[in-house]
């Protein structure tokens, strides 16, 4: 009946109202209901209602509670009477979102709504069955007064020792029907009584208006200044953590994610605390700039190289957008009762993370120029979106979001920045690119072997400098230090000393100090003086002329000889092949060993690599004397068994009725004994499911917790795991 009228109500809505309903309750449209009847069913289903209720703010919820406390049909007047005149503003919203609906006689609630809200809305008990005289309440004895005080604001239930033998206060209340017994030990305060005592309003603390967010006033320019520093810092952190990982890739934990130690070293590298390092790790992970590679190493991706070439605003926006919508919560890193929750790990997702972030940003937007105190901020958020299921996590999420907003530069000094505002409003131009310091294209080299980039460097220059100098200090500027090691690294990367000098001369605004020039020359002079390469064989000869002859010998044409010193040739052929080729060409080479000893024995062709016989698959062990004897015995036994089958079967069936049971120690002892004595045994053997089976076996040997024995049942040699043997008895 009611459902029909809810259906009728929905059916009566115009397009705009339905559309509005879908906007407010998007879950109703997935999938799109085929007809209004099924829409009504869905809209009054508990999960959908719970979702709709979650979207209410504290005051809307309070008004809804008031509705639930009233008997249907209910009127606006009644609602206002229970709450406050400002409920009037809320009722249309409740209608829009279809948490109440209009029927011909007044407002009604969809089915199940009371269930979802709970049967004691706002801590009110059930309506009284008896007629009550509220006046009497004024005469309540003191003991009764106390009990009423305790129950009036809910929960309305109280437990008593024994309902048949109540205290004086309770007795009075029960007598006057101001308390109703529920069962032997529980009493409940009827709704009317509570409402009367509450003075006709259902909430002790009605909150028609959101709590005021307090905090320090921060002017926009100050916030922007701080925020732009935060933005450039966060971008630099991302870049640095990835460069760090590319040099020393951490290994992901087996359970996924970054180990505590790796997180710590990343934090140390960035000079931030671990919370922040976890945040940065997650941020680059979200952005696809880093990935856990197939070999479990955490490495930057190619996307990182692309990302680096983008302008800072694009870089920033891409990361912040992903941060806003992700369900991953980096604040959880390091938490966990039994085990540590790891960054980049699988345990970071939380359902309401993204909604909370969005809510925080919206709140920031409505409270621009304010660096909010966290408590007042939390109170406000709690009003906006009361989280009835996990309020603890919500407060943490809010705190983390505020902290992360600062790291990201959405806020500066705690107040929303121009860039953050532009981002939230999805403006095309965030202003980040204009306000970030312009990249510089030069450095200042000083005579203490440092170079200073007085601003963010252009990426190409930074890359070259990174390869030839160590970074000593980071921030708005970068201080590089040249050292022997750093120059050598540059040379290792394929630059020549001249190229390095040329690059520095070109890039530096100040003349290159002479000691640095010398340093580069010195290092490059020594670099590569020692050469290392691979070769298979060599030819050496005290007469360089002979080697020259070999090199120019037509008969040896095409052989891979290379002269590396007047008296040494190297060759990619095996020594034996080289010798036979030389012999064929008429030379008389002799072979020598690695220590230079002449080898003049007969040379046999042998493989160069270590022997690597194929792995033996299966569990056959090299037969010992015992096992050979056992095998023989098994063979005999097999022969015998055909004859003895019947008698054995008899024995077996007897044994089955009483499976041998021995303790683990006894088992091993008996087994050892009978293996030596070579007796046929009756054993109980547990299968995979734990149920014991009876086997008749001839033990052969015992090794590493296993018994190898011939099973009479199958006639095969089989391995029995000793722990599974429930008992042994000789036959």
């Amino acid at each position: 009946m009611e459902t029909r009228s809810f259906t009728d109500y929905l059916r009566g809505l115009d397009d705009a109202a339905l559309l509005r309903l879908f906007v407010l309750r998007p879950d109703l449209t997935s999938p799109v209901p085929p007809e209004v009847a099924s829409l009504a069913v869905r809209a009054s289903s508990p999960p959908s209602l719970a979702r709709a209720i979650d979207s209410l703010n504290e005051w809307q919820y309070q008004v809804l509670e008031a509705c639930a406390a009233l008997n249907e049909p209910l009127t606006e007047k009644e609602i206002i009477a229970l709450t406050d005149s400002s409920a009037k503003i809320v009722i249309p919203h409740l209608l829009e979102i279809a948490l109440i609906y209009k029927s011909s006689d007044g407002y009604r609630l969809p089915n199940s709504l009371r269930e979802v809200i709970g049967h004691e809305p706002a801590g009110l008990g059930p309506a009284s069955m008896a007629k009550l005289s509220m006046k009497k309440l004024d005469e309540a004895p003191e003991a009764a007064e106390k009990i009423l005080q305790r129950l009036v604001w809910g929960p309305p239930r109280g437990s008593v020792g024994d309902i048949r033998n109540p205290g004086p206060g309770i007795a009075w209340l029960l007598k006057e029907n101001f308390l109703v017994p529920l069962d032997q030990r529980t009493v409940i305060l009827p709704r009317e009584v509570a409402l009367h005592l509450r003075g006709g309003k259902i909430h002790k603390d009605p909150q028609p208006n959101p709590p005021i967010v307090t905090g320090k006033k921060v002017e926009r320019p100050a916030a922007d200044r701080a925020a732009i520093a935060n933005i450039s810092t966060v971008l630099r952190w991302c870049e640095e953590i990835l460069n760090f990982w590319s040099e020393e890739p951490p290994s992901a934990l087996r359970a996924g994610g970054l180990g505590v130690r790796d997180l710590k070293s990343a934090a140390q590298h960035l000079g931030v605390d671990e919370d922040c390092a976890a945040f940065i790790s997650e941020l680059v992970f979200l952005g696809g700039l880093a990935v856990i590679d197939g070999d479990d190493r955490v490495l930057p991706t190619h996307a990182f190289d692309l990302w680096l070439t983008q302008n800072p605003e694009v870089r920033w926006r891409s990361l912040v957008s992903l941060w806003l919508i992700t369900s991953r919560v980096s604040g959880l890193v390091g938490r966990g009762d039994s085990k540590h929750i790891a960054a980049l790990g699988p345990e970071l997702d939380r359902v309401n993370a993204a909604t909370t972030r969005k809510l925080v940003l919206e709140t920031l937007l409505t409270h621009a120029n304010l660096s909010a105190e966290i408590d007042s901020f939390l109170a406000y958020i709690k009003w906006r979106a009361p989280s009835r299921r996990n309020p603890g996590l919500q407060s943490e999420l809010v705190a983390w979001t505020i902290r992360e907003s600062e790291w990201l530069g959405i806020t500066g000094q705690g107040a929303l920045s121009t860039y953050g505002a532009a981002f939230i409003l999805q403006e095309e131009n965030l202003g980040v690119a204009q306000d970030l310091p312009k990249p510089v294209d030069h450095i200042l080299i000083q005579s203490d072997n440092t170079a200073i980039a007085p601003g963010p460097l252009e990426i190409e220059i930074a890359r070259v400098l990174d390869s030839i100098a160590d970074i000593e200090s980071r921030g708005g500027a970068t201080v590089y230090r040249f050292s022997e090691t750093s120059i050598r690294r540059g040379l290792d990367h394929g630059k020549t000393g001249e190229e390095i000098k040329e690059f520095l001369r070109k890039t530096s605004k100040t003349p290159m100090p002479q000691p640095l020039e010398y340093l580069i020359t010195d290092v490059s002079k020594r670099h590569g003086r020692l050469r290392v390469g691979n070769t298979t064989s060599y030819l050496r000869c005290e007469d360089p002329a002979l080697l020259t002859q070999i090199l120019s010998d037509k008969k040896l044409d095409g052989l891979p000889f290379r002269r590396i010193a007047p008296e040494v040739l190297v060759c990619d052929l095996e020594a034996t092949d080289a010798i036979s080729a030389l012999r064929a060409a008429g030379y008389m080479p002799a072979a020598e060993s690695t220590s230079g000893i002449l080898l003049n024995g007969v040379r046999l062709n042998r493989a160069k690599s270590k022997p690597r016989p194929p792995r033996i698959i299966g569990e056959i062990e090299s037969p010992s004397e015992e096992s050979l004897a056992g095998a023989l015995r098994a063979l005999r036994a097999g022969e015998r068994s055909s004859k003895k089958q019947s008698s054995l079967r008899e024995i077996a069936s007897n044994a089955l009725t009483a499976l041998p049971r021995t303790t683990a120690n006894e088992t091993l002892e008996i087994l050892n004994k009978y293996v030596k004595e070579q007796r046929t045994l009756s054993i109980g053997y547990a299968d995979n499911n734990g149920s014991a089976t009876h086997r008749i076996i001839d033990p052969l040997s015992i090794s590493a917790g296993s018994l190898i024995a011939r099973d009479h049942g199958t006639g095969e040699v089989q391995t029995f795991r000793i722990p599974r043997i429930t008992g042994v008895a000789p036959l």
């Binding site: 200044r225 701080a226 732009i228 520093a229 935060n230 450039s232 810092t233 000079g271 600062e406 500066g412 000094q413 306000d435 310091p437 200042l444 000083q446 005579s447 203490d448 072997n449 440092t450 200073i452 007085p454 601003g455 200090s473 980071r474 921030g475 708005g476 500027a477 201080v479 022997e484 100040t510 100090p513 002479q514 000691p515 010398y518 340093l519 010195d522 020594r526």
Partner: protein
């Protein structure tokens, strides 16, 4: 965004662009709270440290001022975390105070009971404390004043020391400025020290630290104990004090291996103070026997560890440390700060050079290529002997001799580490050598000859590294040193930094064997001076032979 001269880095270093028009103004503004780390030619590096910030608090600057200064001069936005950190750090100072209570003696007083509760529970602190007088006050054993300051500093809750100083026995001392005048920076340094109570003054070698000491004594007007590195230095202090102050010969005593005089002003050597007799420090009493009003530590970067321990016990006396470099190769800078006091005055070398108080100097590294045989000998030498091998080669000797010849008209010092090498050089050059076992009389005679110009050159071992006063040395040749010691290099350069009468540039040669460990050490040694803006020029030994200096 301003276009200021300062860049605030996220690692708390401040980079000051000194070519910027506002750089001088900015330097002055940040000097009270930031410590100068390096001052090469273009960008100076300062660092924000807890010590520096607390120092600024002690001098009456608050966090807001510091933050405003940073923001005002910063070229880019200042990282918020740094501002927070500055405020946080500075707020830690002054929550604990050491005061002299008329009834209970030395007491630790707090404005924040939680902090007091925290520190009295620290293991290192508890044994230093006496009875709890009230929730905010606790008695401290007077003898532990130094230790408690040291330990509180390590805990990050530095105590402001209001317990004051004993005045010491009064003794009239004044500067006598006849024919000379105290330089402005010396006066500033002495005043900075006096207002701070105790602390360290850092001035380049040759910038007249003795005068700062004398000026401090004139402020204190009390009996003074001066601790110096060796006897020669002691005599020079004496000379200087006689010349610059109202003190007469009878008022200055020397307390050394040779003499044990205790006068109103007593100059003692570190060596005698740390000498042990039957396992105890025999001369330690010197700190207590007299009611000193001021204790001066010369060359504080060389202060031996036992002296630190004594110093902890005499916190009620004013202490002045003097040095050219606070770089200690043993890393005990923190001890200097907590026991002698924070840095009270510091000025870049180049700034004093620009004012003409120290001579401009040119540092030249002469690279010597070893012969094949020498290279082979070096390559096969035991690792512990390698430095000696390459630092004392024959080839090097020849180059030094040639260099000395080319500077035969200048007052020249040849400085080295290894006695046999110096003996050889002294013989080849025909120049006297001063080393550890040269009698003091002989040393003074040679120094006087050198001072008067009769003697043009001297070969000196490391005994003369410090405090020798050679007014007119214009060229120094360093042939070997104590491995990579940065402060030794600075001290040696200091030998030639006294302003020359003709305003000439001094020259500092460092002869180094190419491609050996000698070269690596040289690089390390030069780092400090390079950071002070002295740029080394490298020339080849062949240039010496061809006279291209």
């Amino acid at each position: 965004m301003t276009d200021g001269p300062l860049i605030v880095q996220s690692d708390k270093t401040l980079l000051l662009d000194i070519d910027h028009p506002l750089s001088t103004e900015c330097r002055r503004a940040i000097a009270p709270f930031a410590e100068l780390e390096r001052s090469p030619e273009h960008i100076h590096t300062y660092r924000l440290t807890s010590l520096g910030l607390w120092n600024a608090r002690a001098a009456g600057h608050d966090a807001e001022q510091v933050i405003d200064t940073l923001i005002e001069y910063s070229r880019y936005a200042v990282p918020h975390s740094i501002l927070v950190d500055v405020a946080e750090t500075m707020s830690r100072y002054g929550r604990l105070r050491l005061e002299a209570d008329p009834i209970h003696g030395l007491v630790l007083i707090t404005t924040d009971v939680a902090v007091l509760e925290e520190v009295i529970r620290a293991k290192k602190i508890a044994p230093l404390l006496g009875v709890r007088i009230d929730p905010e006050t606790i008695a401290v054993h007077p003898s532990q004043r130094g230790h408690i300051k040291q330990s509180l500093l390590r805990l990050g809750w530095p105590a402001e020391d209001f317990a004051g100083y004993v005045d010491g026995q009064h003794h009239e001392i004044d500067l006598v400025q006849n024919g000379w005048k105290i330089r402005p920076y010396q006066e500033l340094a002495a005043e900075g020290f006096w207002h701070g109570g105790s602390g360290v003054v850092v001035l380049p070698c040759g910038a007249g630290k003795t005068i700062v000491g004398a000026a401090a004594m004139a402020h204190a007007k009390a009996t003074t104990l001066i601790l110096v590195t060796n006897t020669i230095a002691a005599r020079q202090w004496r000379e200087e004090l006689l010349q610059r102050t109202t003190l007469n010969e009878d008022e200055i005593g020397e307390y050394s291996g040779a003499k044990k005089e205790i006068r109103a002003v007593t100059i003692a050597t570190y060596q005698v103070m740390t000498k042990k007799k039957n396992g105890t420090y025999a001369h330690l009493d010197l700190f207590d026997t007299h009611d000193w009003g001021l204790i001066i530590y010369d060359e504080v970067h060389l202060l031996p560890a036992p002296i630190f321990r004594f110093t902890a016990d005499i916190q009620s006396r004013r202490r002045l440390g003097l040095t050219a470099t606070l770089v200690r190769e043993d890393g005990l800078e923190g001890e200097v700060f907590s026991l002698i006091g924070p840095k009270r005055y510091d000025v870049p070398w180049k700034e004093i050079e620009a004012q003409g108080y120290i001579a401009p100097a040119e540092c030249i590294e002469v690279r010597v290529t070893l012969t094949e045989a020498e290279r082979l000998a070096y390559a096969t030498a035991e690792p512990e002997n390698r430095y000696r091998h390459c630092a004392t080669t024959r080839t090097k000797r020849d180059v030094v001799v040639e260099l000395a010849k080319r500077h035969s008209e200048d007052q020249l010092l040849v400085i080295g580490q290894y006695i046999d090498q110096l003996d050889e050089l002294s013989e080849v050059l025909g120049v006297p050598l001063i080393k550890g076992d040269t009698p003091v009389k002989e040393r003074e005679r040679l120094f006087n000859l050198f001072r008067s110009g009769e003697l043009k050159s001297l070969v000196v071992s490391k005994v003369a590294n410090f405090s020798i006063d050679l007014p007119d040395a214009t060229v120094a040749i360093q042939v070997s040193g104590a491995f990579g010691s940065r402060q030794e290099e600075a001290q040696r350069l200091g030998r030639i930094l006294r302003p020359k009468s003709d305003g000439r540039t001094a020259r500092f040669y460092s002869v180094v064997s190419r491609d050996t460990i000698d070269q690596d050490f040289a690089q390390n040694r030069q780092r400090f001076l390079a950071e002070q803006g002295y740029s080394y020029r490298i020339i080849d030994a062949d240039d010496v032979w061809q006279g291209k200096l």
